[in-house]
């Protein structure tokens, strides 16, 4: 296990070193994504010129939702970069190179790529999140910080599960599953605002079927001492990490199923 982490660290540092050959390009992409995405948040700020609060959520509170959703999604995307490029890995036959190595295939996919250029978006999320934490009316004690940490972890795990599921489809189709963008990019956009603004059917889908609301909405209700508008039990915020982990678990099972198919159909 420890040896595995060490190997992962080695492979990642190799990734970073090889990308540092294009340092300027990395800096440019980082800076441009960071600033470009800040403009997206600026549009949220502009909306607040026309209202005092969004369904009872102040700008700082919405910034908290927005920042945490962006940060978790983008960070997850960086960590699962290998799955992001996985359709290409399969198409170019590079997955064969993985299967001839004496290591777990999924581990190797994780370690095969680290798109550090995507840090720009994560940094933007963290930046907005940081401002929100500083600005929000919350007494930050151990319980609050722990809840925040668990919430971000849950978000990363949730989106990682989705990215892996999307990538696993490339065992069947050439392109992977583009419709997955609805849940990944769409999902992080959805939870950038309070769930209470959406139609009831959308809420139900994303609370009870796909646990998107647990990525940051329920933990935020806890942190901000808000009453659950849907009247669900008070332990909901604490289900965040377990439910998000279930998504990751589902993705692992699905992956296992997909790789079997690869080995029996060939590419």
């Amino acid at each position: 296990m420890i040896e595995g982490f060490r190997l992962y660290a080695r492979l990642m540092s190799a990734q970073i070193r090889s990308q540092m050959q294009y340092k300027m390009s990395f800096i440019m992409e980082f800076a441009s994504t960071f600033m470009g995405m800040i403009l997206e948040f600026a549009s949220v700020v502009v909306l607040f010129i026309h209202m005092p609060a969004l369904d009872g959520w102040t700008l700082a509170e919405v910034a908290f939702l927005y920042g945490s959703a962006e940060f978790a999604m983008a960070l997850s995307q960086v960590i699962t970069s290998g799955f992001d490029v996985f359709p290409e890995t399969v198409r170019l036959g590079k997955f064969d190179s993985i299967l001839i190595r004496p290591r777990n295939a999924m581990f190797q996919v994780f370690a095969s790529e680290l798109a550090i250029r995507r840090f720009g978006r994560a940094a933007q999320g963290l930046f907005v999140l940081g401002i929100a934490i500083w600005w929000m009316d919350v007494d930050w004690g151990v319980a609050e910080w722990s809840m925040l940490a668990v919430m971000i972890l849950g978000g990363v795990v949730f989106f990682a599960g989705l990215f892996i599921i999307g990538a696993t489809f490339s065992f069947w189709t050439v392109e992977g599953l583009e419709a997955m963008n609805i849940l990944t990019y769409g999902g992080s956009t959805m939870v950038a605002y309070p769930m209470s603004i959406y139609a009831e059917w959308m809420r139900n889908v994303f609370i009870f079927i796909i646990p998107l609301a647990f990525v940051n909405y329920y933990p935020s209700l806890f942190l901000l001492n808000k009453v659950d508008p849907f009247g669900l039990p008070g332990f909901m915020p604490f289900l965040s990490l377990p439910l998000c982990s279930l998504v990751l678990l589902a993705s692992l099972v699905f992956w296992h199923f997909g790789i079997k198919r690869y080995q029996s159909t060939g590419h």
Binding site: S25, A31, S32, E175
Partner: protein, 265 residues
Amino acid sequence: MLYLALFRKGFQRMMAYRSATLAGIATNFFFGLLRTYLFIAVFDASGQVSIGGFSLRDAITFTALTQAFGSSLGIINWWWEVGKTIESGEIITDLTKPFHYFSFWLSRDLGRMVFQVIFRGLPIMIVYPFFFELTWPTSMAQWLLFSLSLSMAMIISFCWHFWMNCLSFWFVNAKGFGRFAWLAAAFFSGFLIPLSFFPDWLKAIAMWTPLPAIINTPIEIYLGVAQGAALWEALGLQLFWVIAFTIICELTFRAGRKRLVIQGG
């Protein structure tokens, strides 16, 4: 004619990506839903019937139009074909061929745009009314002016992309800047929220760029927010940008080509 053939090619090329088109429509529509409910909540919280000349129904129509035509107008998708050939040096072989470079790519990209207007835009405009009530143009003239404005918006959108791509002649990492330009266009064109929602000073900054002519102008014409003199002024400004930006692109490209030839890439 070459350029007509290129236009058709660009259109046909898109037919190959059927599943991508279907996924794209679904994603665009889902984002439309999210944005619609956001605007409903905003109007609710503002306690006003109209913000910047937009009623709630206008705002919902705004989300429909932007989601429908955003990919066609290059706000949802970025384009780096020319930049790529400059970076790789392949452009040298293209330059030896007997066609007008700007028109070559314009024809191809217009093919893509028209495809996306029909197969990504119209489906969304057809599905939306099943969920929300939309504002529709009230006269034939308004439909025609909207079509005219949308056509000019396509050309300006292409110029914006082409011009950014041309920066690769001078800067190795133009792609990074291009990415920023693309993201900035989502904000300053009035794609994310209508420019009428902006504070005056911010709107003034946006109006100095060609970006509002890509999104804001056709939408305000469609909704009837721009009327009378304001409407003609907006169309005139669009026409100005079509001409000016085409010239700017041509000049930039020529300068880039000259630089390439002198320095040998």
